[in-house]
């Protein structure tokens, strides 16, 4: 079987220019035309489970600090974390709970978690301030299937649901096990953010770069090159399915791995959950959408910087945040059960330790790739069919950068 995903995506097959990875002009366009216009992931509704809970997230490329609150009545809202008095950040930590009020630590202006300005200290010395007009600056914030997104364009007229379009319909209703509990792997990298997107968008590298860590479970006799099992394209978003080696077993010498998985009845050897706890997840129509018998996981890429990955053992996410042309923040979240026994804690330690090694193989590599591309020795990259998402991403970025509005960008990607 020789599929042609690149053709199916309506893309040409020529070399792809490298300039967007290394030019400041492109980076500036990405800020204005993409990050200031697109819907951006902030997290799960479970990150602010109770009334009074809040989190603060940074969107460095836009210089924005975002306060997300869970207000009375259940509303989840987003605000610029900027005081109306003289512009300090109102909230200085990254999360907290049961706060109905925020007091700016500079001069004590006080806001409700609905953004309203409640009190000004020493108010009589001001010159008639209309408190109603001095609340925190609201940001459009919507929830899709428990995922919280914001849009930094105050004039935006595209609702989240329309932005996600057919991708939202495709993924809707996936039951996410342990959505309330995650372990995060965070790193700051000296590379353009798109190298990180690329690093987690193809399987061609797995048997090579990850030859010791996950190569043996993501490639095998029936597919030594770890070919894609499926690819689906939805406006600016897309989904691919990866191969899994059905014959993978730990080697004789992998005694700790065996010990860690001894109590596990799991789908594969990289699993956070027991099989029974992912049954509903695996039964969803869009999990392993091609219903491949040799499936390991799906990579669902929500434009521009969010991966929602689903496997037999559970789900995880990647968020990739540009800081500057050659600096990025990377955050991977694994949603894992709360261990109740030492054996369960041991399994989880092994699971995360292995993933940290895998991810580090990718992360050390993106810095090398950035260096190579920035050297301007080459002006193009040469992509094969299993790298279709990289080619498509470059095409989507270009469409967004050309488009006058978000509506027009979505139209162009349809």
């Amino acid at each position: 079987m020789r599929s042609n995903f690149t053709q199916a995506a309506g893309l040409d097959t020529g070399p792809v220019p490298l300039e967007p990875y290394r030019s400041q002009a492109h980076f500036d366009l990405e800020r204005e035309k993409i990050f200031r216009r697109a819907w951006l992931i902030m997290g799960r509704a479970e990150d602010v489970p109770n009334v009074g809970d809040y989190i603060v997230k940074e969107v460095e490329i836009c210089g924005a600090s975002i306060l997300i609150t869970h207000g009375a009545g259940g509303a989840i809202r987003a605000f610029h974390n900027v005081c109306s008095h003289r512009g300090n950040q109102v909230v200085w930590d990254t999360k907290g709970s049961r706060k109905t009020m925020f007091r700016c630590p500079y001069h004590n202006w006080t806001y409700g978690n609905d953004g309203k300005l409640l009190a000004i200290s020493d108010e009589k010395m001001f010159f008639g301030v209309d408190k109603k007009k001095c609340g925190l600056e609201p940001i459009q914030c919507e929830n899709w299937d428990g995922w919280i997104f914001i849009n930094l364009n105050p004039e935006n007229r595209v609702p989240l649901r329309a932005y996600l379009g057919s991708m939202g319909e495709f993924l809707s209703g996936i039951p996410y096990p342990n959505a309330h509990r995650s372990i995060k792997i965070q790193a700051y990298l000296k590379c353009n953010w798109k190298f990180l997107i690329d690093a987690f968008s193809e399987s061609y590298h797995i048997p090579v770069l990850h030859s010791k860590t996950i190569g043996p479970s993501f490639s095998g006799v029936s597919d030594p090159a770890s070919h894609l099992q499926n690819a689906e394209f939805f406006g600016p978003h897309h989904s691919i399915s990866l191969y899994g080696n059905p014959d993978y077993r730990p080697t004789e010498a992998q005694l700790v791995e065996k010990l860690a998985y001894a109590g596990m009845q799991s789908e594969n050897v990289l699993a956070a959950n027991q099989s029974k706890d992912t049954e509903a997840l695996r039964a969803h129509r869009s999990v392993n959408p091609g219903k491949s018998p040799t499936w390991s996981m799906d990579i669902n890429e929500i434009f521009p910087n969010f991966h929602l990955d689903v496997a037999g053992g559970g789900f995880w996410t990647h968020e990739i945040w540009p800081i500057s042309l050659d600096q990025s923040r990377y955050e991977m979240r694994f949603f894992v059960p709360k261990p109740e026994t030492v054996r369960e804690a041991f399994h989880q330690e092994h699971y995360i330790a292995r993933l940290a090694d895998v991810v580090l193989e990718d992360l050390a590599n993106v810095e090398r790739t950035h260096k190579g591309v920035a050297a301007r020795a080459k002006n193009h990259m040469i992509l094969q069919d299993n790298e279709v998402l990289i080619r498509r991403m470059m095409n989507l970025l270009d469409k967004f950068e050309q488009a006058e509005t978000l509506e027009a960008a979505l139209e162009a990607c349809a």
Partner: protein, 120 residues
């Protein structure tokens, strides 16, 4: 960064029966996944191997013994034994998977952090 596990005066380092693991407590019985990963990355392959060889044959017995204690509220010696067990998972990455102390050709120290909601 230098992190160590300390034993309060008057406490035994580990529960009775696990004395031969005591030399590993200071370095390997540290609290936190990020800290245990750091320890594994910040030492030599030979040191990791020495710990792995001593810990592996006792891991199952240790987990059986610790099953009698609540995971999040263990007395000092039991908590340190648990952390040694958890460090074995970290050490196994070097011994069973990489065949080296760290991911080959990755920079060290690095900016990777494992951020957990609770510290075991």
């Amino acid at each position: 960064m230098r992190i160590v596990a300390t034993v309060p005066p008057g406490e035994r380092p580990l529960p009775a029966g696990f004395e031969e693991l005591e030399p590993f407590v200071t370095y390997w019985a540290v609290a936190g996944q990020n800290e245990r990963r750091y320890q594994r990355c910040d030492t030599t392959f030979d040191e990791i191997r020495r710990f792995y060889d001593a810990m592996l044959p006792r891991a199952d017995a240790a987990m059986k013994y610790l099953a009698n204690y609540p995971l999040r509220d263990m007395p000092g010696p039991e908590a340190r034994l648990m952390r040694l067990v958890l460090s074995l998972a970290q050490a196994s990455m070097a011994v069973e998977i990489q065949g080296a102390e760290r991911v080959p050709k990755a920079p060290w120290p690095d900016t990777v952090r494992i951020l957990t909601e609770e510290t075991l």
